[in-house]
């Protein structure tokens, strides 16, 4: 049985930026089964649908998972009110396909936009100093996880849209420069679709393999209800794949975006 539904204790919870929370959950057998790029589906009290949140850290030894989420609406607001010591109802680990990790000595460029940063941390930890992390945010008050990325040993480039922290500009500008200075073995990205769309074309131009993590509204979270469709190309034909089961990670070449 790959999936588990259960109530697990929150062993730490803190606010790490305005309306952004960092939580660690003790769930040993889920942590044991989880891989980088997967997500947990969380029940928010009083809401019909669970909220999908990426796994930001897997500690198999201590049997914990870490998640980082932003309050976007009423459901994530309710989740943000859970306190240390309380139980959280999760279904996990979900996602039929996580990130493909190459050997640690390969060169990786890892790009996170805003709340797309959390799932990128385990990738940075895998490649360590062979990784370049390009981490983008709206402004200084939205910046998260910089200490963690630095601790992974990766080379970190922080960008903000308004220049209030790190360099001013978009992650795609930083990617263009990074690609000029040498061709990595792989690019990973998670963030808003405009950003992903641009990165996919940059990767294609540079001839570098690229994986992206997608978001879509979900029902079951496991592949049973087909609501989380995203447009892809399969065997030369357009196919609506499902983010929860076929992803959330996809090869850049498979993904189609609306114009």
């Amino acid at each position: 049985m790959k999936y588990t539904q259960g109530l697990y204790p929150i062993i730490s919870k803190k606010a790490i930026a305005a309306e952004i929370y960092d939580m660690t959950i003790r769930c040993p057998h889920i942590a044991k089964a989880a891989v980088c790029g997967q997500f947990v589906n969380i029940k928010a009290d009083g809401f019909m649908l669970r909220r999908p949140i990426s796994i930001c850290g897997i500690d198999k030894e201590n049997g914990t998972l870490r998640i980082v989420f932003e309050v976007r609406g009423k459901g994530t607001k309710a989740l943000s009110q859970l306190a240390e010591g309380q139980l959280i109802d999760i279904v996990a680990p979900l996602g039929g396909r996580g990130f493909t990790l190459l050997e640690k000595d390969k060169k990786a460029v890892i790009i996170g936009g805003g709340i797309g940063n959390p799932p990128m941390l385990p990738i940075a930890q895998h490649y360590g100093r062979n990784a370049t992390v390009i981490s983008g945010f709206r402004n200084a008050s939205a910046v998260i996880l910089q200490k963690d990325f630095a601790a992974s040993g990766a080379d970190v480039i922080l960008c903000t849209d308004d220049g209030s922290a790190g360099r001013k500009g978009f992650v795609t500008d930083a990617l263009a420069e990074t690609l000029k200075s040498g061709k990595p073995d792989i690019i990973y990205a998670c963030g808003p679709s405009v950003m992903l769309k641009r990165i996919i074309s940059q990767a294609k131009e540079a001839g570098v393999k690229c994986e992206v993590s997608l978001e879509e509204r979900m029902g079951c979270g496991v592949g049973g209800c087909l609501v989380c469709a995203c447009r892809t190309i399969r065997d030369g034909e357009e196919y609506y794949a499902h983010v929860c089961k076929d992803g959330p990670v996809f090869d850049a070449e498979e993904v189609l975006f609306d114009d």
Partner: protein, 305 residues
């Protein structure tokens, strides 16, 4: 171990070890949920609605949350009947549970073709969806008039000897009349309710949340409507009724059975808790053991004023 022996139900000539069946479209072809529990714990499975050929379905977003419920506009994405028979059914048949094929067509001819193909397979029952609100042609169009419902029933009836269960739309003036029309054409059972047509708008963008603009409402929000409709239909026909719409607990299952359902499907509640079908079954067993009753004895046991 809970004693499950009081839950058996004979429904349209098919024996179910318990009356709890995941609803079509919420449970795929079951495989994914084997990662939570054995499918053999379920009374049956109503599989994803299947059409004559592969359908891609509607553009996303296909789901919107609502107070105590949700809207969906999947639009019958499915790999087509031949794929179902060749690739999904053999695996499902290795499970000790009743397999209900759920079918839909854009034309009467498409319903006939699918039913004929299923006739020579070992599915246990055919559920005929004449009530899907999310496809443009066919679908719900047949389910909203007595003539349309009767027509599809008679076509499917002639195409197969399998038990035929017509799945009814709640988006009608008198669901009891539609049920009677199906019964008259030889339906072995009816199931209800499919989803109620609804809509949500994102007030910041002015855009409907669903790309299809409108979609089907299900979940606890529709439960009282389902109970009422099951009760009306059960009083109008002699064939058995499979009830669904918002069932999320064993108490809900008892309630809809008291209204007249002898089989119960569970849909949207699975999204809130994938374990809910087995939790309901266990709750029903505890209830029957405690009260020293057979579950079938509560079917239609409501005492109306």
């Amino acid at each position: 171990m809970t004693d499950m022996s009081r839950l058996g139900i004979d429904f349209a000539g098919v024996h179910f070890k318990n009356p709890i069946v995941p609803a079509s479209g919420t449970f795929g072809y079951g495989k994914e949920f084997e990662e939570f529990y054995s499918l053999s714990e379920l009374g049956g499975i109503s599989v994803k609605g299947t059409t004559g050929t592969r359908r891609n379905g509607n553009l996303p977003p296909r789901i919107a949350e609502t107070p105590s419920g949700m809207l969906n506009s999947v639009g019958l994405q499915n790999p087509g009947i031949d794929h179902f028979i060749a690739e999904e059914l053999p695996y499902l048949k290795t499970k000790d549970t009743v397999i209900i094929a759920n079918i839909a067509g854009s034309t009467a001819e498409e319903y006939r073709e699918i039913a004929e193909k299923l006739d020579s397979t070992d599915v246990d029952m055919i559920e005929v969806n004449i009530s899907c609100p999310n496809v443009k042609a066919g679908g719900a169009a047949f389910g909203v008039s007595c003539e349309g419902a009767a027509h599809i029933t008679s076509i499917v009836r002639k195409a197969t000897k399998k038990p035929v269960m017509m799945k009814l739309s709640p988006n009608v003036t008198s669901i009891a009349d539609i049920a009677k029309a199906c019964e008259a054409e030889g339906a072995d059972a009816v199931s209800l309710i499919n989803t109620l047509l609804g809509m949500r708008i994102d007030i910041r963008t002015g855009r409907p949340i669903l790309h299809n603009n409108v979609g089907g409402l299900s979940g606890p929000a529709v439960f009282p409507v389902a109970v009422r409709m099951v009760w009306q239909v059960a009083n109008a026909v002699k064939i058995p009724v499979c009830g669904m719409g918002g069932v999320s607990s064993w108490e809900d299952a008892v309630e809809i059975m008291m209204a007249g359902a002898s089989l119960v499907q569970v849909g949207a509640a699975i999204f809130n808790d994938p374990m809910v079908p087995v939790k309901i079954t266990k709750g029903l067993a505890d209830h029957c053991n405690e009260k020293d009753i057979m579950l079938r004895d509560i079917v239609g046991a409501v005492k109306p004023w």
